[in-house]
Amino acid sequence: MLTCKDFLGWLNEYLEDTADAETRSHLNEHVKACPNCWVVFDTTKKTIQVFKGMEPQEIPDDVEARLMDALERRMAAGGAPPAG
């Protein structure tokens, strides 16, 4: 029987479904029997999901304008990209 510490040690593989079949079945057993580990598993999964679902914010207009200026200067100075 896996301990909670064992379960946590395998949490990445469990979340990413990369554990081997035997380990996976032990992890399944543990999470069914242990409410605390189930909550940790569930809320860690949600933590990753909420980060993955977050689109990056727009860049402030002035920052974007300075980026494009810098690029245009480089393009003008160097002509075509190096391969050309």
Binding site: L8, K46, I48, V50, F51, P56, L67, G78, P81, A83
Partner: protein, 208 residues
């Protein structure tokens, strides 16, 4: 205006990169527009300084433009940009924190015990309870409290979605080191987010 404008801009990254390499400035500009927000976010989180992040943003795309001919296309173009961004960001971070060495290579401390104290189910989905702006602030604040060694690995793996191998290579870490840092980072963030997203008054439910 010109005949070339009839052509729809290529949507695939590979085609854009090919066109940019052969001198198509618009293709390169489209790559910039496609990825600049993500590169800026990464730089902001690693440097934790707006001014540094802006410098990094410019450096990344200037370097990418200058060295485009060295990009071989066996990695994703975006992964290549992330590598440049991480290097530039870490240089900035080290420059600012001269008193304190920033190392991504220090051993992972202690066990997981101290990051699993807050055990509570979440109250529905965060998206249903908080606005996008609020969630963004909550997530940004949570990431920014992580130590650089955890923050950087988490950003590359779970935010920018690089593979474990690419993350290891980008940061000069072993694969087991990436995995253990990612686990620590995920658990620390889970702990922080649970304090905000948990069901109120039911903190003890999980212990029953």
């Amino acid at each position: 205006m010109t005949p070339t404008e009839q052509q729809a801009p290529p949507s695939g990254e590979e085609i854009l990169v090919q066109n940019a390499k052969s001198g198509d400035v618009r293709a390169f500009t489209e790559l910039v527009n496609r990825y600049n927000r993500r590169i800026f976010r990464l730089a902001r989180h690693i440097t934790q300084n707006q001014e540094d992040a802006e410098d990094v943003l410019q450096e990344v795309f200037l370097k990418a433009y200058t060295h485009l001919h060295t990009f071989e296309g066996n990695a994703r173009f975006y992964t290549w940009l992330v590598r440049i961004a991480v290097n530039e960001s870490l240089m900035k971070l080290r420059k600012r924190k001269t008193d304190k060495e920033i190392s991504l290579d220090e051993p992972v401390s202690a066990g997981e015990d101290e990051v699993t104290r807050e055990i509570a189910v979440w109250d529905g989905s965060p998206e249903a309870r908080f606005s996008q702006t609020e969630i963004r602030r909550i997530l940004d604040d949570a990431v920014d409290t992580l130590a650089p060694i955890y923050r950087t690995v988490f950003l590359l793996r779970d935010v920018d979605e690089l593979s474990t191998e690419d993350t290891a290579e980008t940061l000069g870490l072993s694969i087991p080191a990436v995995k253990s840092r990612l686990l620590r980072a995920r658990l620390q963030l889970r702990e922080k987010l649970t304090r905000v997203f948990k069901k109120k008054e039911e903190d003890l439910l999980a212990y029953l």
